[in-house]
Amino acid sequence: MTLLEVANISKRFGDLVAVDNVSMSVAAGELRAVIGPNGAGKTTFFNMISGFLSPSAGRIVFDGADITRLLPARRVWRGIARTFQITEVFPELTTRENLRIAVEAASGYRLRPWLSRQADGEVRARVGELLDLSGLSEAADRLVGELAHGDQRATEIMMALALKPRLLLLDEPTAGMGEQETYDITRLIRRLHREQNLTIILIEHDMRVVFHLADRITVLAEGAMLADGTPQEIARDEAVQTAYLGKAA
């Protein structure tokens, strides 16, 4: 079943064509990597799916409904969650509070002046689950702004996960991380994909991470789609090698 269908979308900023007529179809349960050299339009492409930018042309269909013009919050309500290239968290609140805000937003409690004892218990339990799942329990009561970069990133991913998304968009989840942190985040993403059967699209520069995780890979170059296929197909693709992998090697 197709969960996300992106049809011929483009984004122009004045004369600059950042994304040019790109199409992509993502099946439910798939882990898709979007790769490409710097300036290929990957983040712009992502921003159009999450509603941060609206496309100049084309259509985005999520779970059978056209979401091309929906506001970001409404896309979240339909089940699309995202993280950012530069981690976006609530730095002066604790990890637990960060997750709690996300859980309450997801439960529709964001306007409530109080919670029943039962609802409060459910929120706490869900926050506890997310802390356990991410291995952040020990950092639960520390300010997120004081955590290591990898833990901040993990917090952001868990906040997105707290929304119980059907599609999770991760923009360079391992950017700026050391070996160990990259390994930990990769393992976390793989667990979310395998154990929760979550559909994930990720932008990633680290080819080890990409080939380790992805079911399928979409390659962008200079705003246009260069290739789309399984990791084996992409590894063999000559156009990709010259445009991208060749340069990296």
């Binding site: 999450s50 941060f52 970001p72 919050a73 979240v76 309500w77 969650a81 995202r82 950012f84 976006e88 968290v89 609530f90 730095p91 002066e92 609140l93 509070e97 709690r100 805000i101 996300a102 309450e104 937003a105 997801a106 409690y109 964001r110 306007l111 409530r112 002046p113 109080w114 919670l115 952001e156 906040m159 997105a160 929304l163």
Partner: protein, 316 residues
């Protein structure tokens, strides 16, 4: 330990507030100054609901403070001589004005939001200034006074007994502070913190940010209006200065001076501001330059305000 410190701080603050009429004369002051502090503190805490806990700077809160004051004064003078009725009208007027103006400004951020709040504030200032037949123009609304509270079975003379008025103001302040603290600890309060901390993240958690800023704005202005009603009652008078932008600036100074990330910060800030003003203005007309200098020093060296210093000291 921090939880214990906080509780000790709460107890100390309430003890000082409740015992003020007994110790203020002993330190060479007077009960009326206590009432001033409580009234301004309520306005500064109301502002801080928006500034410190939603991350939105309003430079026009005097408009809603002044609308509360004018609403109360004009109701008691022209319509119905009752303190509670006057207060209800005052709060209703300022809340309604904030609710109507809100949608026009909540999309703006930072300095643009601040400038628009000033602009709307000045609109009310000029109305009060020009509408001589209703507001008395520059002369203000005078020749009326607050009415003693009469609950049928008992009677409180807040008109002639300064201590009675002080406790009346403290009671309103306490109820307002409790309600604000309650809201800030709720899921709604956490949503506001989320907007303050990172608007982009909040938006991508599915939070309609502008709508929540509007609600926070209306709550904040309603409490500022309530403080304004007390201000009019305290002085038995109101004039257009209560609405003017420099009055808004005073509220911002109080909140920042005391510490806008602390619940009690604006109270401390209001107390310091008014005590300095009271003390220095009896020696020199240039009292504002001294407060300004003190403000600059605090902002430069202790950006978290006076309570920020205390908190840093007590941290392990």
């Amino acid at each position: 330990m921090p939880a214990l410190d906080k509780r000790a701080g709460d107890v100390l603050i309430w003890f000082l507030l409740l015992s003020a009429p007994f110790w203020l004369p002993a330190v060479g002051s007077y009960v009326e100054l206590g009432s001033h502090v409580v009234v301004y503190a309520l306005a500064a805490m109301a502002l801080n609901f928006l500034l410190g806990y939603t991350g939105v700077l309003s430079f026009g809160h005097a408009a809603y403070f002044g609308l509360g004051a004018y609403g109360t004064a004009m109701t008691i003078k022209y319509l119905y001589p009752s303190t509670p009725v006057g207060m209800l009208v005052g709060v209703a007027v300022s809340t309604a004005a904030a609710a109507l103006i809100g949608p026009m400004i909540v999309r703006l951020r930072g300095v643009y939001f601040a400038m628009c709040t000033i602009a709307f504030g000045q609109v009310f200032y000029f109305i009060a200034f020009q509408w001589r037949s209703g507001t008395g123009g520059d002369d203000g609304v005078s020749a009326w006074h607050r009415m003693p509270l009469d609950f049928g079975f008992f009677h409180i003379d807040i008109l002639n007994n300064p201590a009675a008025f002080y406790y009346f103001a403290v009671a309103i302040f306490a109820a307002s502070a409790a309600l604000m603290a309650f809201l800030l600890r709720s899921p709604f309060g956490r949503t506001l913190l989320a907007i303050r901390e990172n608007e982009r993240r909040a938006r991508f958690l599915g939070i309609p940010v502008d709508r929540h800023i509007w609600i926070s704005w209306v709550i904040s202005c309603a409490f500022a209006g309530l403080a304004g009603t007390l201000f009019a009652l305290m002085n038995n008078f109101v004039d257009p200065r209560a609405l003017r932008w420099d009055q808004s600036g005073d509220f911002v100074i109080m909140a920042v001076l005391g510490g806008m990330r602390s619940f009690w910060g604006p109270l401390i800030g209001a107390a310091i501001f008014l005590v300095l003003q009271d003390y220095i203005s009896s020696h020199t007309e240039n009292w504002m330059s001294f407060i300004g200098l003190f403000f600059v020093l605090v902002v430069l060296f202790f950006p978290r305000g006076v309570l920020g210093i205390v908190r840093r000291r007590s941290a392990p």
